[in-house]
Amino acid sequence: MMARLLPHPALSVVLLLLWLLLNNTLNPGHILLGGALGVIIPACMRNFVMPVPKVKQRIGLMRFTVRVLVDIVMANFHVAKLVLGPTRRLSPAFVEIPVSITDDFVLTVLTSVVSLTPGTVSADVSDDRRRILVHTLDAPDPDALVAEIKTRYEAPLLEIFECSTT
Amino acid sequence: MLDYVIPICLALLGGAAILNVARLIMGPSVPDRVLALDTFYINALAVIILFGIWLKTDLFFEAALLIAVMGFVGTIAAAKHLLSGDIID
């Protein structure tokens, strides 16, 4: 019964929060309305929602989020220095990174994090989801970059989410 | 203090907008121009938020949110059009 009514409980909570934020209120009427939307919308689109793997370590997820936020700020100072400095000294590169994440959602998170953090933009994902192509603004040593992304972002994501590895 | 800071910020964002428009005109390729427009709408959003703080009104929030949503959809549509010559596939 519960599973039929709320096929995606997390999505319902997110919709309720979104509604309250959009109206910028904690009015009981709006909580009721947001709750109703949180029930109706997931019920209407139950077959279209992308399956999201279960979170195994909540603390790990929080620690990962904080680390990514700090890295975003740090990466921005780095990029600002590169942008304002002499452009002739930059050594841009396309780097291929082999990944062992197979789940679509987790792969999306990884590519987004890579785009937002240290001087890299993810440019393509291979058709078999085994490699991602990354463009870096300044990479004197591509192998070190691959190792850093794998240990710093990919390994924690694999631990946090319950997903099969290849 | 805010009365002095906000004009400075608006001037900085205006400089950013001029650079964006310069890139929009210079090109040289279509993706460059799409990227310039993408940056331009994000800058416009920042200007609107600053203007809201200056006038001490909350009313510009919806405009800023709509610009964010519509700009993203526009960029993705343009990129998809460049990729496949078709927006819906």
Partner: protein, 109 residues
């Protein structure tokens, strides 16, 4: 409004505007499309994020209770910036845009 809140808001706004300007400078002066992509996706997103944060603090301190709805803009920007950068990079690779000679590695077709 207490002075320290005003100082915090001013700092956030200045920081954000400076980073938005850095992003635009990157867009303007870097040599090829793929390097230009870096400025807007990172610097501009963080800059506008900081401005939105300043606005959030400002409207929360006016006594009408918390004003958190600016958070929506920030979350939306941080989710969408990598997606549009990814799509534009794919389009640019398909069009085989010129890249700087010293770029190492090859883009995929």
């Amino acid at each position: 409004m207490p002075i320290w809140i005003e100082v915090a808001v001013s700092l956030f706004l200045l920081f954000g505007s400076l980073f938005a300007l850095v992003g635009a400078i990157g867009l303007f002066r870097l040599p090829d499309f793929f390097t230009r992509l870096h400025g807007p996706t990172k610097a501009t997103t963080l800059g506008v994020g900081a401005i939105v944060l300043g606005s959030m603090i400002f409207f929360s301190s006016r006594g009408d209770g918390l004003s958190l709805h600016e958070l929506l803009i920030m979350v939306f920007l941080f989710i969408t910036a990598p997606v549009s950068a990814h799509m534009l990079a794919k389009a640019a690779m398909q069009q085989r845009l010129p890249r700087v000679d010293r770029t190492r590695g090859e883009p995929w077709e």
